[in-house]
Symmetry: C2
Subunit: 135 residues, 2 copies
């Protein structure tokens, strides 16, 4: 919790109790969680926590560049505290999302394009995960 406190400051985010708790969860659970997963995980120890606060908090984190929102899951927004350039894998069966590899320089290279001003890239792979194959 102290760590997340510090961590938030690096992104000039004022560390409230709720924000620190959310960031702490993200730092310790690198599973690209949904809003609901975050809320359900924190709710027991913070009974007054509102889901709206989780939404507000994640919006703020994204705006400040502390976390990245992933589009890989059509159902729910997914959040990643790892903002380095890396690709993801989503299992079609269980829906879990995993880091798959770091993007090398030429893959991550944002292409020059006359029609669009490109500022970011998202590379997603789909298939079946190890765990689901063994079922």
């Amino acid at each position: 919790m102290l760590e997340s406190h510090q961590y938030l400051r690096q992104f000039s985010i004022k560390p409230s109790v709720q924000r620190s708790a959310v960031m702490n969860f993200l730092l310790k659970n690198r599973i690209h969680p949904t809003i609901d997963e975050i809320y359900l995980a924190l709710s027991p120890s913070m009974p007054t926590l509102s889901k709206t606060t989780v939404y507000n908090t994640l919006d703020l984190f994204v705006e400040k560049g502390a976390v990245r929102a992933l589009a890989i899951d059509e159902k729910n927004a997914r959040y990643d505290v790892d903002i380095s350039a890396h690709a993801h894998f989503k299992c079609r069966s269980c829906g879990s999302i995993h880091d798959i590899f770091d993007l090398n320089a030429n893959m991550y290279q944002l292409p020059e394009n006359k029609s669009f001003k490109i500022d970011s890239i998202e590379i997603s792979y789909f298939g079946i995960c190890e765990h689901c194959i063994g079922n």
Copy 2:
């Protein structure tokens, strides 16, 4: 309409009136439309068309491999009748989605991975489009 009739058969989709109309729209409007856009476009000429049918139809098309569902837009599912390997660009301002380039062989190459059985890739770029810059 005759064309889409034929086209559907290639994917062993039985071409009903509704299915042909939806496929015809997709073939002639390569804008990666949402369900709603498809429904609103067809609705005037097919007043009895149900939105549920549009959902059913697109689910079937995806299942049969005739169209690809894109995850690039968090709000709505987007559908692409072009199933070739190509990357997309989404404008953060107006939300429009464009084809940006074909994926070359080494980019499209699905990586071998011991933990996951990978079957597809989606590469998305984000930024601001030409039109929105000039505003």
